[in-house]
């Protein structure tokens, strides 16, 4: 995990005060996630319900990603959960933020993180093809 460049991007995002938790995930699977002792606030107390809601949202992402679905978010209790979909995939960068946060500013860093992760995935795919 330490040498995982995607994990480094997520660790960076998690350093922002208003990002309570973040991960790269798809339906029923979390691909990359920082140590959850780095998660902030009360997010772990409502983690189960958020996790179940996330899986339902990934059902929508699976249906519409190929049609150009870019982002989805929902509010649950005192949190908002943001999904930044990786184009034409069933995966997304997911972040949990407080409902009262300055969402516009966080969106910019979410977009930066999505672009960084896409670049990393692209490079990993190219390396894989070269060595195959």
């Amino acid at each position: 995990m330490r040498d995982d460049p995607i994990a480094e991007v997520l660790d960076d995002l998690l350093k922002l005060d208003d990002v309570l938790a973040c991960m790269v995930a798809r339906c029923n699977m979390i691909s990359v996630m920082p140590d959850n002792d780095k998660f902030k606030g009360d997010v772990m107390q409502i983690w189960d319900i958020i996790h179940r809601a996330m899986d339902d949202v990934f059902g929508v992402i699976r249906e519409y990603s190929q049609a150009g679905l870019g982002e989805i978010d929902f509010r649950l209790q005192d949190c908002e959960v943001l999904f930044y979909v990786f184009p034409d995939t069933e995966s997304a960068l997911v972040a949990i933020i407080p409902a009262l946060s300055n969402k516009g500013l966080i969106e910019v860093e979410m977009e930066n993180a999505r672009r960084d992760i896409l670049r990393i995935m692209d490079e990993q795919e190219k390396k894989r093809l070269v060595t195959a």
Binding site: N102, K103, G104, L105, I106, V108, E109, E111
Partner: protein, 435 residues
């Protein structure tokens, strides 16, 4: 990104490092490293995050580990920035110019809330005293303190207080807090008015420093010094051709109100049309008072209240706080009549095109854009589209857009203006330019 043509050089750079000292070194290296000669001046901006990652003095120390001694530097904290490299709400950014036909002087005026006149006059005098005026154009770039929420018995004053002690005492407390504690509105419009009166023949172009829209704390930089509550300015005397454009993307709705009761030099409105200001405003935009919380700004940024100035500018003013029946604004409303304005994401983006298309310089060599953080908060990740428009215009030329908590402009011998929610672009080119 750098532009090296003939004698004129300009560059922008940035850092995304978390550690303040390392970020300072990196942003300075990335910026002046693109020049062939020492910089004539540097503008430095950072987001608020360095407060908890070493502090702003360490950020400046890192910059000065790299910058040549005595390079004039001004700047401050901002909510975000975008440049040739991307869009960011965390990091540090700089813009530098190296040009022999440019004389530069910096000035500072402290305690802007306690005494705006004294601060502005002192800053202006420092610049006038140091500046030779052998060239035709005079520009004063400035940064001044933006609003900061006062504390009320140890807690930050909430943005919305509908009842209780805070709601009742809030307006009076805000007035006293600005005067005695230097917390509250920035009084920027007063500072700029006195600055303009002291330095008549300069184009004034600047912004209010900000944090990440929490309105807790913001800082200004001048040379090696980090300040709070200071006006910092950089005077340029130069033969560079400059061009300016201003836009807002706001549409008057035709819904007007008469201000019938106000306070704090027209920064707090207590009554509109003889009734509770808060009830009248929120009733008009269709938000029940019981739904209001600190996310209010996400909505009210789309509904600023504006007034027309004598010289035809529409001054949009965003809500700072709701204190029972009163609405506190970020700056004073200089009219007894205000109008509800509205906007949308599409209109905010169109304002960028409007500004760019109105510029006479079609091939700039450098650009500085000062835009309101309200636009950043409402557009969110759509500011990447703002950047796309700027890249199309600037091409390879370096540019830097900062998101501030208020914007100010003044053309020589005209009235000064302070705004919210606007987009202001200043571009320059050298004399090799022909239209």
């Amino acid at each position: 990104m750098g532009c090296k043509i003939a004698e004129f050089q300009a560059a922008v750079g940035m850092s995304r490092k978390w550690d303040a000292r390392e970020a300072g070194r990196e942003v300075a290296r990335n910026t002046i490293g693109k020049l062939d000669r020492p910089p004539t001046f540097v503008l430095l901006f950072s987001t608020i995050h360095y407060k908890d990652h070493g502090g702003f003095q360490e950020l400046l120390n890192g910059v000065w580990d790299v910058l040549p001694k005595d390079t004039p530097l001004v700047g401050g904290t901002v909510a975000g920035f975008l440049n040739n490299y991307g869009c960011f709400t965390r990091g540090a950014a700089a813009l530098t110019v190296s040009y022999p036909n440019m004389d530069v002087a910096v000035g500072i005026g402290k305690n802007t809330r306690k005494n705006p006149k004294k601060a502005a006059e002192k800053c202006a005098q420092e610049i006038i005293k140091k500046q030779n005026r052998s060239f035709v154009n005079n520009i004063l770039l400035n940064m001044l303190p933006g609003p900061e929420r006062p504390s009320f018995f140890g807690k930050d004053l909430p943005i919305v207080s509908n009842q209780g002690l805070i709601a009742s005492l809030g307006p009076k407390y805000l007035e006293m807090s600005v005067k005695y504690l230097q917390k509250g509105q920035g009084l920027e419009e007063d500072v700029i008015k006195y600055l303009a009166a002291s330095i008549q023949d300069y184009i004034i172009f600047g912004g209010s420093s900000a944090d990440s829209n929490d309105l807790i704390a913001n800082y200004q930089f001048m040379n090696e010094e980090v300040s709070k509550n200071s006006l910092v300015a950089l005077g340029l005397n130069t033969d560079l051709k400059v061009n300016f454009a201003h836009s807002d993307g706001l549409k008057p709705t035709g819904i007007k109100f008469k201000i019938t009761k106000k306070a704090q030099d027209s920064r707090i409105i207590k009554e509109l049309d003889g009734k509770s200001a808060a009830d009248t405003f929120f009733g008009e935009i269709g938000i029940p008072r019981e739904y209001l919380d600190d996310r209010i700004l996400r909505t009210t940024f789309f509904y600023p209240l504006g007034f027309k100035t004598n010289d035809g500018y529409m001054c949009p003013n965003t809500i700072g706080a709701v204190l029972k029946d009163s609405i506190a604004f970020n700056y004073s409303i200089e009219s007894d009549e205000i109008e509800l304005l509205t906007t949308s994401g599409r209109m905010l983006l169109a304002a960028v095109d409007e500004a760019i298309n109105s510029l006479q310089i079609k091939k700039p060599k450098v650009g500085l854009i000062i835009s309101c953080l309200a636009r950043l908060e409402t557009l969110g990740a759509n500011i990447f589209k703002v950047r796309d428009k700027l890249i199309s215009y600037f091409q390879e030329a370096p540019f830097l857009l900062i998101y501030s908590c208020g914007e100010n402009i003044r053309f020589p011998n005209e009235e000064s203006h302070h705004f919210n929610e606007t987009f202001n672009i200043l571009v320059g080119t050298d004399n090799s330019y022909s239209s």
